[in-house]
Symmetry: none
Subunit: 406 residues, 2 copies
Amino acid sequence: MLDVIRQLSKETPSKIVMVVLDGVGGLPLTTNGETELATATTPNLDALARESQLGLVELVGAGITPGSGPGHLSLFGYDPIQYTVGRGALSAVGIGVKLSAGDVAVRGNFATLDAGRNVLDRRAGRPSDEENVRVVAKLREAIPDIGGVPVEIYTESEHRFVVVFRAQGRPLGADVSDVDPQATGVTPMEAKAFDPASERTADLVNAFVARAEDALRNEPKINGVLFRGYSDVPHFPSFPDVYHVRSACIASYPMYKGLASLVGMEVLDVEGHEDALEGKVAALQANWDKYDFFYFHVKKTDSTGEDGNFDAKVHKIEDFDALLPSILELGPDVIAIVGDHSTPSKLATHSWHPVPLLIKSEWGRKDVAQRFTEEEAQKGSLGLRRGTDIMPLLMANALKLNKYGA
Amino acid sequence: MLDVIRQLSKETPSKIVMVVLDGVGGLPLTTNGETELATATTPNLDALARESQLGLVELVGAGITPGSGPGHLSLFGYDPIQYTVGRGALSAVGIGVKLSAGDVAVRGNFATLDAGRNVLDRRAGRPSDEENVRVVAKLREAIPDIGGVPVEIYTESEHRFVVVFRAQGRPLGADVSDVDPQATGVTPMEAKAFDPASERTADLVNAFVARAEDALRNEPKINGVLFRGYSDVPHFPSFPDVYHVRSACIASYPMYKGLASLVGMEVLDVEGHEDALEGKVAALQANWDKYDFFYFHVKKTDSTGEDGNFDAKVHKIEDFDALLPSILELGPDVIAIVGDHSTPSKLATHSWHPVPLLIKSEWGRKDVAQRFTEEEAQKGSLGLRRGTDIMPLLMANALKLNKYGA
């Protein structure tokens, strides 16, 4: 389908804004109660909803809870079952590390081993981020390279870290077995290559494990490393190439900037701390003439949901509502508001529930939905759809797609 | 899926009528206004809708605007991404030319060239059909064959014509570059083969261009030919074979007769000019006992939409409403009313918007939809579906499908 879209796409001056309210879909706290979206006071979203098309989207599939990676890939039009980003690569892009073709990124856990190398704690007592940074510094000094292959080590958070083996022209395979035994009382496993292209990588991993244990032998808690999730660099059709748009990402968290850059969007600078909504609007205004497609990411609707804080999530929705007029003032030809998954405060984690989708353009039909809520979206004219339908619908509404066949 | 349907299909005496109101889906002219269907006074359609199942269909996919070919293939149950008909073949079948395996059909435009062979007008001033027929006769005399390969030349309309190179046992490839430069002030391009199987075809095309220019050198306006869209013959599973029905096409425009004949339907004679609705009903009545499946095509709902004439489209819908009772009188076991795509007058061209679908049979559930309109169809029990769902639903409602699996 991406190939079909690529063939039908054409450059036009029309502008599309896709606002992603991360994890915005919710659940009522009590039976027949209201969700976060329905509880929030959102005059601007309500007014927009009354003149828009609404519907619901499942980003990956029925019952499937999307991670941020698959959720966003689906929003960008990439079938998240077909196009996958490995855990290692996702962690790397999530902390802002650029990967090049042939590199391998690996997800690591710090662990506690006993004298016989048996795993005592697979997460080394969940160290603080500061502890993690201290230990990573030690490892960086001890393992700058292995046999000439540059090794980069990055803190992710708590017990999680990322290792990147740089290919430097000699591509490394990523089909390697786990070091993490996913159990205590047993020793870490030896990494084995599943194909010839990954044999060097397995050797690098095993050497890393030995040298890390050596460097950390005097640490009381963090004295072992476990690996799981090796990835090479995913090769996706480029977003600007598929859709024939100059595309920009406006986000402040590394994961989302990483995903956007992975598909080929340009990542704009955003001033401010954390979600920095005003900084994001300023970036949108400053770059309005330079791009045709803007991915505009709002994070806090998800974080508050993950915290299980219903009221805080309601407030974050209202915060977005307050700045919506400054986006609409720019006069986008098509604006979409959607989430990459639901994060109901009641569950305090991502969920499988469909996410409301709003599309406003000149080319909409009458739609009875009155608000941007789960309940109203279900009455909307867009129906219940897959996330990968969104980009073709936005492109069509921007009159950026030619007819298919004569 | 077609294979599954083929295995489940059985012959029964039940009769299905699929009415295709070409381009019937529309848009309101103003926000929250009514579409053409909702504006039209349609007492007979309304009465039928109240006792039918309604829903909406996307013929190709979300956001994709179907051409007539893909739209109809989807209605007939053929996934239009998998089953494609080239422009040349579509034009050839559109004027009633039968193609055999190995033949190549090419779409041509008559053009005006200046003394230096530069294109002055890619459509030769849009000649009348009579002019086209006159020039085609001249070319037929000048180019009966090229190096023994029989050449057939047909008028399509205005500046458009079709050339068929007959393979006669030596299959011709169709992967050839365009002659049409799609610009004025430059010379026609030389056709080049993209694969070895198409090299003879490229030679035939270039020889045709030279001989045509020679034959037309004294013509004031039509003195050049441009080619674009070469196709070999598509191979589709046969409609009567898949569905085990005796199937008939009742249409008056060549394109639709051609598409129906391409999938193996029998094309019935229709008396009258243009849309000839009375003639179509007469053909349906006269052939009622001879077939189990009738594809009944109404063109003017699309043409008026393409003209951007909202009121005229409304009237054409009302014209169809007036003759609906004479179709229903025949007592079809299943009648479907649907379009092959939307053609909103507001856009004056095909569009991606879902098309209403109505299915009436003895085996329907309660359905709240009160009229055959986009808004009511959205409330209907059939939901929002792909076009390829229609044929299985009609077959099921006609009790022509066996159970799948034990």
